[in-house]
């Protein structure tokens, strides 16, 4: 049950170097909960990896450990391409909620990461507008978050994550609170941006369909203790669009991943 199956190893992914490498990560919280047990995972440059699993499997904890907000109880996180002891990594985070500052305009919200690095409004202007352009919100730069719809707020949140031009984008169930139409649109937008700019994306989700549609690799996790049970490559070509969403290949992958997920849930005790 702890055996990890590498269903379909891919040559191109294996050949690109790891950008983040989790080695034997365990995390036990002070209340005794074992959130993660001996988790090892190489995330390679340019990959779109989804962490998929039932609630309580530690996928969000794994993401927080990558950011450095939480330290592992044992094991370590390596950034092979960065200088040793580099304090800040080239990463951005998108939360489940948009987490915008309600008192600041869209422009000021996206400017925030640059502002914290001491870049003035004038110097940041071009980069902020570029980021807003990526999510098609340039004309809303002067609006306040409350004037925007849920999907637009999420796009502001994504623009804020992109404005620093990160190498790694970490997303913690970013579209879970949105309706399906908005979610499909944002899925497409995100894929398009990823194909254009080629960052590495680590995407936490509990939706099989979303993860298959987006990722080129799905890591299935099980709970109690949180661990990896399957590592499935989704070998379908990009760009992916509506045809892919309705194709037999897509449903085939969904079935494979669903079965893996059910296996993962059965192997742990009940939810």
């Amino acid at each position: 049950m702890t055996a990890m199956t590498q269903t379909q190893p891919r040559e191109n992914a294996l050949s690109s170097p790891a950008i983040v490498s989790l080695k034997g990560i365990s995390k036990t919280f002070s209340n005794g909960t074992v959130a993660l047990h001996d988790l090892s995972l190489d995330i390679r440059q340019g990959e779109f990896v989804s962490l998929l699993g039932p609630s309580g499997c530690g996928k969000s904890t794994a993401l927080r450990i990558i950011t450095g907000l939480t330290g592992p109880t044992s094991g370590r996180v390596d950034w092979p391409q960065e200088a040793a002891r580099q304090a800040e990594h080239d990463l951005s985070f998108v939360f489940q909620e948009p987490a915008l500052m309600p008192w600041a305009t869209v422009f000021e919200n996206v400017w925030l990461p640059l502002r914290l690095k001491g870049i003035s409004r004038k110097q940041a202007r071009e980069r902020v507008m570029d980021a807003l352009d990526m999510v098609q919100l340039t004309q809303f730069s002067g609006s306040y978050p409350r004037e925007l719809s849920g999907g637009m707020k999420m796009r502001v949140s994504i623009a804020r994550a992109l404005v620093t031009k990160p190498k790694v984008l970490l997303m913690d169930e970013p579209f879970a609170a949105l309706d399906e139409i908005t979610r499909f649109k944002l899925n497409n937008d995100l894929l398009h941006l990823w194909e254009t700019f080629g960052w590495t994306v680590v995407f936490v989700t509990h939706s099989v369909f979303e993860s298959v549609y987006l990722s080129d690799r799905i890591v299935v996790m099980a709970a109690r203790p949180g661990r990896i049970v399957h590592d499935i490559a989704i070998d379908a070509p990009y760009p992916r669009g509506e045809e892919f969403r309705t194709s037999p290949v897509y449903s085939g992958f969904c079935r494979t991943v669903s079965e893996a997920l059910h296996g993962a849930m059965a192997s742990g005790d009940h939810l």
Partner: protein, 291 residues
Amino acid sequence: MTVSYAPKAALTEQTPVPLDAEEMKRARAARVESVGRRVIPVAILALSLVLWDRLCVWNEIPHYILPRPGLVFETLLADWQILFVALLNTLKITFGALFLATAGGLGLSVLFTQSKWIEISFFPFAVILQVTPIIAVAPLILIYVDSIAAGLLICAWIVAFFPILSNTTLGLNSADHNLQNLFRMYGASRWQTLRYLRLPASMPYFLGGVKIAGGLSLIGAIVAEFVAGTAGSGSGLANQILEASYRLNMPRMFAALILISVTGILIFLATTLLSHLLLRKWHESALKKEA
């Protein structure tokens, strides 16, 4: 990817022309309410003044028991010289205390949220100052402090600063957790987190505190003046009331009372306006609700 969003204004500007009976009724009710909101309070106030006047006449109440409103107004004009000086003295204490309470409350709450040890150490003192009735402490303060003005200021400050301190502390601690994580992830300094996250997040709470403190600083100033009971150059409206009561000068007592009330109302309106101006762009409390 090519969807463009129409600006909101374009949607709201066009009015659907033929209204059904129910909507017409609703629109008329809204118009009546908006007029009534302004007219009714004024009318009721005027009516009660007339009633006051008539009661005095019908029952032949002498002016040294209950003066007629006209006489109060005449006294207000006739004694304006004395009352205006007293008003200025009271205002000086009130606004001095409000300013110190705002600065002190804000400063202390920022200090409290920077270190929980400071908060644990000093919060009990703030509570003790708040729960001990000022009227019981005022005599001590006025004995220990040489300058009467300074004594009055301290009394009014003690009453007024606590709501600002406790509200702002709550506000500084209620910044969104995801945003706090985000600030940490981007390596924000303590000062940056305070300046860009905690202070703006605490703004509605702080302004709520200022609104309460505005009224309390006037109350504190008046209570302290009563205790001090000074006559002469430094005396305020409370002293005028005391002095007038010794002489059974009822009209002047009422005139001073009216000045105190009006001051309180103006402070309330000013703090409400300030709060509205600072929050209208983003905070839920300042937004017009759509029916």
